[in-house]
Amino acid sequence: MTLSDTALTEDGLPLKTRQGRILLIACGALAREILDLKRLNGWDHLDLTCLPAKYHLYPDKITDAVRAAVAKHRATYDDIFVVYADCGTGGQLQTACAELGVKMIAGPHCYSFFEGNGRFAAHDDEITAFYLTDFLVRQFDAFIMKPMGLDRHPELRDMYFGNYEKLVYQAQTKDDDLLEKAKACAAKLNLTFEYRFTGYGDLANALKTL
């Protein structure tokens, strides 16, 4: 299957016909990683649908969208697992999932569970770090440059990033092209660069238990 990052950002990933018994409702930014894990581990009992990754920019939309997706699909599946961390919902997604009787992946955001929530929480010296994942490096313009207006008004850069010091590229896969692109992203934001290979971290650990 060919996945378009733009489509994952704007539209998400529609559900195909039911094949598994558990449905994963995920952020579009995680689609490739989840499909890779399914393929590598033969997790055919897991089906996947994704909401538009652009909700990352408007966290207040996530909770209602997840609620609607759970309501739409719950009769069709034995169980549903939500592959969103808190993602800026301020605990509202956790509350909604508890009300709906579905579980979700632990952690404040994907930067945390990719690295491993325990390890990420132990960084007490990284409040000035800005994180990018593979998806966000590929979609840097769609998630950073355009919505922040930096493509039109580069003079705003320091208002957004003046308090940051480094860009940490959390790599899920080893890809030289992405590495070069991530370095260029850091340069655009005037931040120092750090490469950190994470693999799939707690995303793999969480899906393994389903």
């Binding site: 800026g88 919902t89 301020g90």
Partner: protein, 233 residues
């Protein structure tokens, strides 16, 4: 725009100039705003009138359009930057001319958080509304808030957080204020993208403020209540 279409600000009458400054603020044109402020000063406008009628008036429109989803963060930042240019000219003059002071606020982003765009907008709009603002910057531990409150004697404490992981620290500050018996001496306002009204109530703040315009209105309302309760005491 061609040269012949350029508007010469100094040739506009006062009413036209203020209307043009609203447009320039909306478009984030800092140099034009600075020029407009200087022209009004030359016409012997009081600095406080320039601030409230030209700058705050224009920024209020920006705030409303942001709230209504017509403008987005980049445009608001450009407008704020333009207003900042005008404010830099007016600020020393406001102090000299004894402009009315509505109240005093200490504001800062909480410990572990370096995000300050919202805080800076609130600080600027509060200054525009006649509040004296003491900005503690980013990454403030409870001790920094307590020291500033003791040293500055503000009416209002404002706390900001952008992260789900840092917003609970606001409760640490408020709980410490309660422990020290000083909680009721201050109006406590909180804000930031992941917060909501429910969270504000749960941590014991007086109010959650959705945006800078709401922060100003809420601050004025609570100052009015404080004033009334002092009169009746």
């Amino acid at each position: 725009m061609s040269d012949e279409d350029d508007i010469i600000l100094s040739e506009l009458d006062d009413e036209e100039l203020v209307a043009q400054m609203f447009d320039d603020l909306y478009d984030g044109l800092k140099e034009e705003i600075e020029e407009g402020v200087n022209i009004l000063l030359e016409r012997e406008w009081a600095p406080y009138d320039i601030l409230t009628k030209a700058l705050v008036g224009g920024m209020t429109i920006v705030g409303h359009d942001f709230r209504d989803g017509i403008l987005f963060v980049p445009e608001v930042l450009l407008a704020a930057n333009a207003m900042k240019g005008g404010m830099a000219i007016l600020k020393p003059l406001l102090a000299e001319t004894g402009a009315p002071r509505v109240g005093k606020m200490v504001i800062g982003t909480v410990k572990g958080d370096i995000h300050d765009i919202g805080k800076n907008l609130v600080g600027m709009m509060m200054e525009g509304a006649g509040f004296e603002v003491v900005d503690l910057g980013i990454n403030n531990a409870v001790e920094a808030y307590l020291e500033a409150m003791e040293a500055e004697g503000p009416d209002i404490l404002g706390m900001s957080a952008l992260l789900t992981t840092t917003m609970p620290y606001m409760k640490v500050v408020i709980d410490t204020m309660v422990e020290q018996g000083i909680r009721d001496d201050y109006i406590v306002l909180v804000g930031g993208a992941p917060l909501n009204e429910e969270f504000g109530k749960a941590i014991g703040a007086d109010a959650y403020c959705r945006d800078a315009a709401v922060a100003v209105e809420t601050a004025k309302e609570w100052m009015g209540r404080k004033h009334n309760s002092m009169q009746s005491a």
